[in-house]
Amino acid sequence: MSFLELQNITKIYPNGTKAVNETSLNIDNGEFVVFVGPSGCGKSTLLRMIAGLEDITNGEISLDGNVINNIDPSERDVAMVFQNYALYPHMSVFNNMAYGLKNRGISKEEINNKVNDVAKLLEIDQLLTRKPSMLSGGQRQRVAMGRAIVRNPKIFLFDEPLSNLDAKLRNQMRLEIKRLQRQMGVTSIFVTHDQTEAMTLGDRIVVINNGVVEQVGTPKEIYSKPNTKFVAEFIGSPQMNLFNCKIENGIAHIADMRINLNNSANIDDASLGIRPDDILISDNGQHTCVANLVEYLGSDMIIYSKIGDQEFSCKLSSKINLNAGDTFKFDISNTLVHLFDNTNGSRV
């Protein structure tokens, strides 16, 4: 039995919107799981149902062997870090962190020790007497984490906690969250719409779309073998190229280009996906295209081009000398392509 089990969880809001649909998921103790998906896909709702902040329309959630569907949020022993931190504005940093402990009837001395230890861990021990309004965004973020950590909960829930920070601070906090989670070994669920965050943080990633889990797997699995067209498009930057094509006897027809897939598939309406960095550019490539636009990114560059009327991009080292308007030759290896059936979006 897993540490946290979601069984056929469904959430329907009173106005009839189905936010989460028949979702089942098992999470092991100590695991760091990331829910990722576009905004409005139901990932936050799922997290809030685990926290107990939303009612569950259907299904069962059990934590550490106990069904927690009808248990009050305060008794679930979960801690949550909110997107806008939700610090208590009228309390000092110390009291923000101590409040949950006080409510649990822990002695003053113990509260003092715990808060001070966690404050040191997060390097906010200089700020304990300040009010949240006197803190910077990064410091508030730390306090919010401290408030969660100090309670030593069974699960940490993070609801897009990094989205209000600037890019540099976000990277730094991301690393720190990862480090702290490793250090403490507490089961964590992290919700984000940012696929870079998802890839770097998670032991496992849960890709959610329209209230349905599209794929669950390690970052590597998700990246190298996306189960559906949605996952293929959503994970990876720049986005995977998807060509609408017709496959006859294992040969994909994209406009006037032919790619031998080395199988015997026959699909009328398929998508052939290839990651921009899997397109091999070489002087003796089989296919030829014109570079319409070249984006220089420092070590890499991205070339935008077209096959027929379908746009695609390739990513390559910027050491290669190629300018907009030049023609280039490339190969698409059939071991690197991903095939999806357009009728249901699933992988072939």
Binding site: A51, L53, S74, N84, A86, Y88, P89, H90, Y99
Partner: protein
């Protein structure tokens, strides 16, 4: 240079406003320190006289009223009890009503709120007969409870607190829930400290409102023992300087309250922590 000129003009206008408000009060104060005889013969005075202590102590301790049963000091006490009672009770009732309306899943909460709000159209003066009958049936005529209770629920204060609670982000409640608060401790540990400035503002408004009541205490009290300052102002029959002295003193309690709560009061009105 233009900055200097505009600031001079601003200060000039402000000074005129200040003078318009302060000079009449000063004239009454200055006149109240002269003997009645002197004022009657020489008119209102702009400069201080030397009867300050005489006049004020006489007014404070003189038995007055129709039956000479009450002193000005007792009137101040009555007014203070009444105004504090009204202010305190309105703050408590409106805080709790707003809490109930905003944070509990009350059916038709908005409708109930508008019902409360509509009572603004029915001020005490309009319902004075039924209110009096209720109070007299409860045997509360000539008591402080009778003076205070009918005006101790304020729709406007409920409105202020409701709007304020609605502006508090939901995440705060959710974070508090995960931290183990219940409905009572959320009210005590969060809403009350967060609405501190609002409470001060409402308290001042309601204190002044209570202090200024005239018609209600006039009807509710038959014993001079319960006379308030505002009633005294109307019925204070004395020499002209005594009346001036009483007018000046009657302004002091609200001013004291405002001075003490001023900082919170201003923050409460502008509510931008």
């Amino acid at each position: 240079m233009t900055k200097y000129i505009s600031s001079t003009i601003n200060h000039f206008i402000l000074s005129i406003g200040l003078l318009i408000m302060v000079v009449p009060i000063w004239i009454i104060f200055a006149s109240s320190t002269h003997s009645s005889l002197f004022i009657n013969t020489n008119g209102l005075q702009f400069f201080l006289g030397d009867n300050f202590i005489d006049n004020y102590s006489r007014v404070l301790f003189k038995q007055s009223g129709f039956f000479n049963e009450i002193t000005a000091l007792k009137m101040f006490l009555n007014s203070f009890v009444m105004a504090t009672g009204i202010a305190t009770l309105s703050v408590i009732t409106s805080l709790m009503t707003a809490y109930g309306l905003v944070y509990f899943k009350v059916k038709y909460a908005t409708f109930i709120f508008w019902l409360i709000f509509i009572t603004l159209l029915v001020p005490l003066e309009l319902r004075i007969m039924p209110s009096y009958i209720v109070m007299s049936k409860l045997n509360l005529v000539n008591t402080f409870a009778g003076l205070i209770l009918p005006i101790s629920a304020s729709a406007i204060a409920t409105f202020f607190f409701r709007q304020f609670y609605k502006s508090i982000p939901d995440e705060l409640l959710e974070a508090a829930k995960l931290d183990g608060t219940n409905s009572w401790s959320f009210f005590i540990d969060f809403l009350i400290p967060l609405s501190k400035t609002m409470i001060a503002a409402v308290f001042i408004f309601m204190f002044v409102f209570g202090y200024n009541q005239y018609l209600w205490p006039l009807i509710m009290t038959t014993s001079e023992q319960y006379w308030t300052v505002v009633m005294g102002l109307k019925t204070m029959y004395g020499s002209i300087s005594d009346r001036f002295a009483f007018v000046i003193m009657s302004m002091i309690p609200p001013v004291i309250i405002i001075i003490f709560l001023q900082k919170l009061f201003i923050q409460g009105i502008f509510q931008n922590k």
